[in-house]
């Protein structure tokens, strides 16, 4: 006796159930990022939200994008944000007031954004996926990045390099000021 192909009574595929669970985790934790009064918890909920998105990528048959999502968005970006918050925040300071200053502007911006995203979703005609990718998806992604679109890839990497150099220049200790201080 095997599990039925679709869920009883509703007729959904089992993948749909997993998708709903992951989407629920993602959206719920994304909401908590905004609503949470504690900035570190906001950051941790953001990690959870990214994990949900990675799960959706894996469910959609693209494990390499899911792994890149975990590696870059959680392993690097979220950690960096948490790191910066922990270095600058102190528990003695007002942890909750920080969020409320630009409520009106934020409300307008989010309504506009909602309208834009909603319109683009409604106007786009989503074609059904033909088939799940084969196991050699990694190889195809590599060819797409390093062969077909290598020029765009190089331009992006140059931009990132410029950003890194600029970041180091800003972060560099001003040596002349140090000497004056000493």
């Amino acid at each position: 006796m095997s599990l039925p192909e679709t869920m009883p009574y509703t007729g959904w595929r089992w993948d749909d159930l997993v998708f709903l669970a992951l989407a629920g985790v993602m959206l719920g934790s994304a909401l908590l990022v905004v609503l949470s009064r504690n900035i570190i918890r906001s950051g941790l909920f953001m990690v959870l939200s990214f994990l949900g998105l990675a799960g959706i990528y894996a469910l959609a048959g693209s494990p390499i994008v899911a792994a890149a999502q975990v590696l870059v968005y959680i392993g690097a970006i979220s950690v960096l944000i948490l790191f910066a918050v922990m270095l600058t925040q102190s528990k003695a300071g007002p942890a909750a007031l920080v969020f409320q200053r630009q409520a009106w502007i934020a409300a307008i911006a989010s309504v506009v954004l909602l309208g834009l995203i909603g319109a683009s979703i409604l106007l786009t005609d989503f074609p059904a996926a033909e088939a799940l990718p084969t196991v050699h998806e990694t190889r195809e992604v590599a060819f797409l990045i390093f062969d077909a679109n290598v020029f765009a890839f190089e331009v992006v990497s140059l931009l990132l390099l410029a950003a890194v150099v600029g970041g180091i220049f800003i972060a560099r200790r001003d040596e002349s000021a140090d000497e004056e201080g000493a």
């Binding site: 006796m1 599990l3 570190i40 390499i64 792994a67 392993g75 690097a76 979220s78 950690v79 990694t138």
Partner: protein
């Protein structure tokens, strides 16, 4: 209710565990007997097997994850034992020698001790984050074990992107470290957590870059393919094709596991025990559990990537052929052919062999009493049987020998990590970051460049250019 709750309250803690277990056992026995007597037995077993067979994917997933979760316990115990015994050996001490033979059970006792200690949450701590942090750290370590290929055909998941998965999930432990450091509400914990996170982020870069050379050579991110690519003699192992990469990977792995000389997350004079300062009881135990599992995982990864994984260092088949033994060796045993005689063999042979061994020992060492020689003979018999069983398994199942080689290499490397800890002094904290960014990362980049250039040269020469 009172008639039931009074005897229940009088039970000791152990009794509260054992009495429900006994009741459950009796219930299960009665249910099984009822099923058997009613004649539904064969039908039930058939139905169970059919159901499991039809959902083989789910069953395999559950078994694989459970086994991976469970094998971390012996791994951690072995590493704790190494930690105590090898460092004692280096220090010219005896080390643990009271619990179990050669003190082997000392780590089990440590585990029980940690379980029995008070689990304390400091005032002002962020309770959910504080509670979850050890679990995040431990899970990040265990989940990386899912893709490690232990032997041919013996793995939890054979992912096409196994290598990226390993780095992605392994990097999640940084989140756990920062959670532990921040939620403890203690400046030493916070500093320790930040220091650990900074160290891990810095050393993740050379760790990932150092294996790009292997990916270039193998042309795959699949760990099984990487191991199969190193088959042959030990000269085919990646450590000889990528010596610089192996060195960088090993150093960065030492730092990733927060092992000496890079274990700056714990510094008694500066930040006490780092992010673990406020932890006690089993949560503290979990932090260290994760560390010891991590040591094994990094050893296993080094083995898979650079030391040929499950491949034997030398192929002994030609040597066996030279002596006239046909390979692969097969031993045909069919115990079922004995029928009911098999039961007799199982019942009679072990006592007879034990008695013969006991008599032999008595004759060889006349000073021993008969009981003593009997006990020794029984232990000898068990060792003999286990040895024969292992030999038979190694000949008949190809993954047993592979697993043996893999474990020898990985556990040897774990012991080497402990030996490093006993030998080397700590790095200074300001030198820690500089070493990663100024030396290891450029060296890893040079390694990638040289490997890619060599590949192009070799390919163009083969192509006849």
């Amino acid at each position: 209710m009172t008639s039931l709750s009074n005897p229940w309250n009088r039970l000791t803690l152990a009794g509260k565990v054992i009495v429900p277990l006994v009741i459950a056992l009796i219930g299960v026995t009665i249910a099984l007997a009822a099923v058997w007597l009613s004649g539904f037995g064969p039908w039930l077993i058939q139905w169970l097997l059919d159901t499991l067979g039809a959902n083989i994917g789910i069953v395999r997933f559950l078994i694989a994850t459970t086994v991976i979760l469970l094998i971390t316990v012996p791994i951690a115990f072995l590493n704790i034992f190494f930690e105590m015994k090898i460092i004692a050996f280096v220090n010219l001490r005896v080390g643990p020698n009271r619990t179990g033979p050669w003190g082997t059970l000392a780590s089990v006792v440590h585990g029980l001790k940690v379980l029995a200690k008070e689990d304390f949450t400091p005032t002002g701590a962020d309770v959910p984050v504080f509670t979850l942090a050890p679990a995040v750290i431990f899970l990040a370590a265990v989940m990386t074990l899912l893709v490690v290929p232990f032997a041919p055909g013996l793995f939890a998941f054979d992912m096409e992107i196994g290598l990226i998965y390993f780095f992605a999930v392994g990097g999640l432990s940084v989140i756990g470290l920062m959670m532990a450091g921040w939620a403890s509400f203690n400046k030493y914990s916070l500093l320790g957590g930040l220091r650990a996170a900074a160290g891990m982020i810095s050393y993740e870069l050379p760790l990932i870059l150092s294996v790009v050379g292997i990916v270039l050579l193998t042309g795959s991110l699949n760990l099984t393919t990487i191991v199969e690519d190193q088959s042959g003699s030990f000269l085919d192992w990646n450590i000889f094709r990528q010596p610089l990469g192996a060195m960088i990977f090993f150093i960065a792995a030492t730092a990733e596991g927060s092992r000496t000389p890079f274990d700056l997350t714990e510094a008694d004079s500066e930040i006490v025990a780092g992010f673990a300062t406020e932890y006690s009881g089993m949560r503290f135990g979990f932090l260290f559990f994760a560390e010891y599992v991590n040591v094994f995982i990094l050893s296993a990864m080094t083995t898979v990537l650079f030391l040929g994984g499950w491949n034997a260092p030398l192929d002994i088949d030609p040597l066996l052929n030279f002596f006239g033994i046909a390979t692969p060796v097969t031993v045909v045993l069919d115990p079922g052919s004995l029928g009911f005689g098999l039961l007799g063999v199982i019942a009679i042979v072990p006592p007879v062999i034990t008695l013969i061994l006991a008599v032999a020992i008595r004759m060889l060492i006349p000073t021993w009493g008969f009981l003593r020689s009997l006990v020794v003979a029984f232990v000898l018999l068990n060792m003999l049987v286990v040895g024969l069983l292992l030999g038979w398994l190694a000949i008949n199942l190809d993954w047993v020998l592979g697993l043996l080689w893999f474990l020898i290499k990985a556990i040897g490397l774990s012991a080497f990590f402990v030996l490093l800890r006993a030998t080397l002094p700590r790095v200074r904290v300001d030198e820690l970051m500089g070493f990663a960014w100024k030396w290891l990362t450029p060296a890893a980049l040079i390694n990638i460049f040289v490997t890619a250039a060599a590949l192009i040269v070799v390919k163009s020469m083969e192509g006849g250019l």
